[in-house]
Symmetry: C2
Subunit: 403 residues, 2 copies
């Protein structure tokens, strides 16, 4: 099908004025062919609804939380459809259940099981733009579910895959994916193309343009994605493609910074099996997500240090847990450090070029920026540094690799 | 079934604090037997959503308006279910589509066609309180509809009828139905019982406790209704029953006042068939609801005056239409009067006691309150008077009939 799917995030539909702007972008696409538009909730609606839920109950029931949060997108899609009709574009809003998006029976973070596209196709065949609610679906029993973080991106990609769309455009408030955050590195350049895998590492380490989950799904279906700017819709943006089409000769594609980091360590842990499992099991039970994990051996090998990072707002909870665990397992103590940030470089060619990592570490050292933790993957190298050094580190690395 | 249905209006669930209060009332009922609770949207939510719609489009698409407005109740029922669970009461929210409420395919004012109660019964059998969204349903094709004014009352009565409930309690912000508005007539008394028909006339003429549509439905199914106070839940309230149980010897049950009235007249209309149809057809096409209509003959019978009342906020629109019609049909002119209010007495015994009407007119005359229009039904007599005289008129009539 010549269909395109367009997705508009919360900032793109923050106000009715912005919704009208989005209607203009959709109307232009609809003049050229069939369109499914996916929208998130308006601006801060989700946060507002969460606040109400917390007032109603100390630990709101998750089925009800989903029913509550799903109203956010229902509001934005109804308003967007109205704005489209005001422009003379035939449009219909469709909620998760109406779209036929069936999810697993897990509230607040459901995965999509199946999309029955009959109802959508019927509207498209009548020449209507389908304005789809992002972030939501329904269980086989008819309960409303939400897809959790990155949900609207995932809805857009899943609909594009199910409908056989030729592309999925993710509209956001930047013009695409940059070699670094332009607010930190003024010379950062826009990448016209990036591979799914590079994008995954970029997104995971803090370039918050597109959720990794949606990228994984797009990669799975080989669906081309474009990241585009709602406020500059003529800009071509960044195209995400499979590895076959990517520029494999570029060793470093970009630098990213994640300041929402705090570092914790449990020190001099007796070296016996099961302790790491105990530590991270306890954190997981308390819904504390852990990012980087490093286990270092002390001299002699009888005790270990286990160091990891969490989001800053989870530091206190994680620290309390860790203190408890430290005393039960007989560790030497704990360490908590809020003053950290993660600087990463991403590139599909990294694994083949060990000199890239060496250059990064050397240049940071020369600039007297202390590296507190290092973690690497095939296409990413991350260094945890002092938060105060982090912006300087990003600028430095960006210059060193001539981005 | 020993089931009861409880309905809570917008003021009863205006804030999360009030929702928690309502949860207390439901919890008490749930301890005694199965409960279906129906809730309206929180306070001013509907007005807020309407304002957004008007920003999005000068004439919002009605399908989308319904999708938008339906979110109001989804929010309140999710929060109410959370508050119930917080109290340890198993509860599930159900939206119109989830409740199985099928309506006709008419947006913003749909009538209920059928309720498939399977899903509700399943939850009730598991010992759960069903927290149902008022005001909404779905077409056979899955589009969301709303029931229009009085919709939540209608949902409650329809669910009670479909489920064979033993009673339906309508919780509002007063303790029941009074002989007059206590704000105007301090000596007004609460009626422990009232017939459906008396209530219908009371509701239509301005006692805004319970929507006539719901009363008609309750009468049809012989379902007892109770009007009760959310903020004084121990009060017995007013019971609405069929004519068999009512106190037929009371000539006047109550006095009501409707100040949301404006009077219009088209004067010296040529006396030929079809003109009234033309006038009220044009008003209906512009969605202007007309209340009282009086057509008076002039001397000689060659021309008529047609006088009617509309809601105040529709006066300007109605006036513009009427001026147009007046010139096309060759009428003598029009009259528009915003300074009017409607005072009515209601009683099942009125039709058999012509002296009641005479007394009302005489006493208003003695008090120098000019009667601008009169309209009557079997159980109601309404007089349109100056708005400035209206409260004095209500007090006077209340005293005259020893209410």
């Amino acid at each position: 099908m010549n269909l395109i799917v367009q997705k508009f995030g919360g900032t793109s539909v923050k106000s009715v004025a912005r919704i009208k702007n989005v209607a203009g972008i959709i109307a232009r696409a609809a003049a050229a062919g069939p369109v499914v538009a996916v929208a998130s909730a308006m601006g801060d609606t989700t946060d507002y609804l969460l606040k109400l839920a917390q007032q109603a109950s100390a630990s709101p029931d998750r089925r009800e939380l989903d029913a509550l949060l799903a109203t956010g997108e229902q509001i934005s899609i109804a308003l967007l459809s109205m704005a489209l009709r005001e422009r003379g574009v035939q449009a219909v809003s469709m909620s998760g259940p109406q779209l036929g998006i069936t999810t697993e029976n897990v509230h607040t973070a459901a995965r999509i099981v199946e999309i029955k596209t009959d109802a959508i196709r019927r509207h498209l065949e009548c020449g209507r733009v389908v304005v789809a609610a992002g972030f939501q679906g329904t269980t086989a029993e008819g309960d409303i579910t939400t897809l959790g973080r990155g949900g609207s991106d995932t809805t857009a990609v899943a609909l594009a895959a199910a409908l056989g769309a030729r592309t999925c455009d993710i509209y956001t408030d930047v013009s695409g994916v940059y070699t670094a955050d332009p607010n930190i590195v003024p010379t950062a350049k826009l990448l016209p193309e990036i591979s799914y895998d590079e994008m995954l590492e970029m997104a995971r380490v803090g370039a918050q343009v597109l959720h990794p989950r949606a990228v994984v799904l797009a990669r799975q279906y080989g669906l081309p994605l474009r990241v585009r700017n709602t406020f500059d819709p003529d800009h071509k943006g960044t195209v995400l493609k499979g590895v076959g089409q990517m520029e494999i000769y570029r060793p470093v594609s970009g630098v990213t910074l994640d300041r929402d980091q705090a570092r914790l360590a449990i020190l001099q842990v007796p070296d016996r099996p099961g302790i790491a499992g105990e530590v991270f099991g306890a954190l997981a039970n308390s819904h504390i997500s852990v990012d980087m994990i490093i286990q270092a051996f002390h001299e002699g090998g009888a005790v270990n240090d286990i160091t990891f990072t969490v989001k800053r707002n989870q530091l206190q909870a994680a620290r309390a847990l860790l203190e408890q665990i430290a005393s039960t397992v007989g560790a030497g103590g704990i360490l908590a450090d809020q003053d950290v940030a993660k600087v990463s470089i991403v590139g599909a060619g990294l694994m083949d070029q060990p000199e890239v990592a060496a250059t990064m570490f050397r240049e940071l050292g020369r600039a007297r920026i202390n590296i507190k933790m290092i973690s690497t993957s095939d296409i990413r190298i991350s260094c945890v540094v002092s938060d105060g050094d982090s912006e300087r580190a990003v600028q430095l690395v960006h210059d060193v690799f001539h981005l």
